[in-house]
Structure formats: C-alpha cells, structure tokens
Amino acid sequence: MEEGGVNVIDLTQGDESFVKELIALGADELRECIQCGKCGATCPMALAGLEFFIKRIVHAANLGLRDILLEDSSVWGCQSCNRCVEICPMDIKPYEVIQAVRRAAVKVEACPANTYEGLRNLYRFGHAVFPKGFEERRKKVGLPEKPPTALSFDEFRKKYQELLRQTILEEIAPFPLD
C-alpha cells in the first residue's frame, strides 16, 4: 500500500524473520493455514467490517508483511472471542496469530493509545478497567466504596507490581514503573 497511494502490495517486502518472530510469539501453526476462509466468515471483526480481519491477517502474517500488519490497527479490534480457534479446520489457532502480531507490535510501540492506558491502569490500580465515579455506584448498591481487590490492599498491590515488573512490561511500558 505504498508507492504514493498506489494500491499494490509489494511481496518483496515480505520478511521471513517476521514470520519466525510470530511463530515464536505463539502463532506456532501459522504456516499451515490453507486460507480456507472459515475464520473470516465467523470473525466479528470481519462481520463488523474491519479492513484487516482474521483471514487476511493470517495470510499477511504468513507472507511476512510486517509493515502492513503493524501499521494497521485491526488486530487491536479482535474480540478474543476464540470463535476462530474453535472452528479452524487446520487448528491454526488464528487468535494466537492476532496475539502474536500484537506482541510484535507492542515491542515497536505500534499499538493504539488505549492499550497503554489499560496497562497503566493495571499497573497502578491492579485493574485495567478503572472508570471514574465507581465509589458512588458502589455506595448506591450498599457495597463498600472500594472492592476487596488489590485496590484495597497496598501490600498486595505492591507485590503485584513487583510481579508485573518481572515481565516484558518492564521493557516496553512507556510509563514509569515505580
């Protein structure tokens, strides 16, 4: 999709090392995909009309089209619903391909802002989803303002943060981990 908007994909860009990277990141059956299209016919991304839905993603991954995959944010629209995993006749586990592409994207900071927001919330509060005004909502139903999760226990939260720092988050987080 380069060349000044000319709509031709240059297969020569295909990089086998990217295919190998994805295989190492969990898409271990990637190459066996026969492009039967079954996943694409069930995938909510495809049905909702995302341009790069699962079948195309698996194929582009197989061709090693790194730039195309990382520039497009479709993989972040995957619902993780695992419909594709359940029905893929080749047991490719297409969802694992999505996750592998995400994992490759995160390494080069090619992911949407809300991904980092989720990670930051997870690290700070122990909760990826952390909407404002929850105290009020909880009071309304007669529950304590804070749930008895890591949010309520500093020592647990600290330990959890320590645990997260043992992972790749330590390397890729674009926010301070302290």
Binding site: L50, R83, L163, I168
Partner: protein, 298 residues
C-alpha cells in the same frame, strides 16, 4: 456448606456493582459461603498482559488463581473475559511446562505459588452444575411467570471450549442459560443468532460505530424472531452492550424499540427476593415491565 471465592474483575465492581450485589445476594440465598479473594486484580484483560506475551498472560492470571488456591476455594466470576482469560491461563500452564516453570519462579519472587488446582466458574455453569436446577427451582421466591427471555451466553463463556473444564454439549447451540431461565418459570426459546457476537470488547473500544452496528444486527434478529420481554445475559461485558450500548443506539436514533437486559446473576437474585433497586441500580433501559411481571405473579 459450599464455599466459593468471588472473583470480581473490573467491570463488575466499578461499572456494574449491581451485578456484584446480585452475585453476593444469590450465593447467600443459595447457601454458598462467599470467600473474599483479597488482593485479586484484573484477570488480566485480553488487551493487556495477554497481548504482551504468553508468559505475561499466565503469570498475571496465576497471581489471581494463587490467591484462591491459598484459600482453598474455586473461583466464581460474572464476567466472560475473566472466565475465558483465567481458564485459558490454567490451560496453558498445564500445556506448557516451560511456561509454568517461569511462572513459578516469578511467583516465588513475590512470595506466592500456584499448583494449578483452582477451577474457574461462570454464573451459568455454577448454577447449572454446583447448585442444580431443582434446588434453584425450590429456592426462588418469585416465578418468572412466562417472561419471554432472549438469552446471550457470551463468547468467552463458550470458546475456546477445549480450555474450559466444563460447559455446553454443543457450544454453537447453547442450552444451559435457556434451561435456567425456564426452570425459574420463564420461556427462553432458541433464536438463530444466539451465538453471535454482541460487539462489546476490543471492537467497541477501537471501532465503536462498527461495534454498535454489529450489535444492532443481532438485536434486530432477536426482536424479529422472539420479540422478548427481557434479554438475559451470561457475561457482564455483553450486558454493558445490551444495556448501555442499546441506550446509546436509542439516543442516536438508530433503534426504535427497547429490550430490557439483565445479567443472569441479577435475574436470579431478583427471583430469590433481592432488593430490586439495588439489583438493577445501574440499568439504563427501564425494567419496570419486567419487574411487574415477575413480582405480579406471586
């Protein structure tokens, strides 16, 4: 007395505490002791640690699972993602010993350990297998009085089935939620898009218009095929779409009908006599008609 660790996740305690209230109420009414999982965190959501790596996924879930294991209980969650993520983590920990080994090391560094003994339940399977339909039938105070329900099990409660310890015989023709609604006196027919995605989740965050359009397509089929009184949902994320998402569609003038929606925990709690104001406190689509029908019957 049965015991269960209540795993809250994020959406339930922060966005829909009415579901948390309902879960706590129904467990109490059904004689199940609630064990708090102090220090538990996000499951972690698919778009977070699982998107960084398999180890990242497994270790973050193992944190939560280890808390339940320490207390000697299984886990119950009302959220499909929490159910899927943690069951998958359990599955990977068994399937990949090399990851398990690394997870053990990291857990040890923060003074925890996980042997892999915790089973993760969702509300549907918990009621179906651990409570039993007959017991539920005996315990309810209010009958659903022929309330017509359109059920939504939720994808994370169904797939990947091989990672789940128990569940539907045919995940593409789910029956458990329907049976639960029916044992409480409702009518819950199958409909042709019963396993379709509601559009909530990453799609909603990254492509909201498309997500809502997908949801509307499903709703239209429900309306056309069932025209139900209520949508009964097995997953808190789906409920957000069915309730707040539906309200948004109405606000955008894209929908000219309403289908009230409740999480299975809420509906069961109401049938067991919970305070309706609390059990439905955050609902966007009014439930008056539904409540009248349930309460009016007795």
């Amino acid at each position: 007395m049965q015991k269960i660790g209540i795993f809250l996740g994020c959406n339930i305690p922060f966005n829909r505490p009415d579901i948390e209230y309902s879960m706590r109420f129904l467990l109490k009414e059904l004689g199940v002791e609630i064990v708090e999982l102090e220090g538990a965190t996000c499951c972690p959501a698919y778009g977070t640690m699982p998107s960084l790596g398999l180890l990242e996924w497994a270790v973050a879930s193992a944190w939560n699972l280890s808390i339940a294991e320490e207390k000697g209980v299984d886990m119950l969650t009302g959220c499909g993602s929490c159910y899927g993520v943690q069951n998958e983590a359990n599955y990977y920990l068994k399937k990949h010993p090399e990851i398990k080994e690394q997870v053990d090391k990291i857990l040890a560094k923060v003074g925890r350990k996980y042997d892999g003994t915790v089973k993760v339940w969702n509300v549907i399977n918990f009621i179906y297998e651990k409570i039993g339909l007959d017991t539920l039938k005996q315990k309810i105070k209010y009958n659903l009085n022929g309330l017509k329900c359109a059920v939504q099990t939720g994808c994370h409660n169904l797939w990947p089935s091989k990672a789940f310890p128990s569940g539907e015989d045919n995940t593409f023709f789910p029956k458990r939620l329907r049976e639960i609604c029916e044992i409480m006196g409702g009518v819950a027919p199958h409909y042709s898009t019963i396993t379709d995605c509601c559009g909530m989740g990453a799609l909603r965050s990254n492509a909201p218009e498309k997500s809502l359009a997908l949801f509307k397509k499903k709703l239209d089929v429900i309306k056309e095929e069932l025209d139900p009184d209520l949508a009964v949902i097995g997953c808190s994320s789906c409920l957000l779409q069915f309730d707040a998402g539906q309200a948004l569609l109405i606000e955008q003038k894209k929908l000219n009908y309403k289908i009230p929606a409740l999480h299975l925990a809420q509906l069961t709690a109401i049938a067991l006599g919970a305070e309706v104001e609390k059990a439905t406190a955050m609902a966007s689509i009014p439930l008056n008609g539904v409540i009248t029908k349930i309460k009016g019957g007795n």
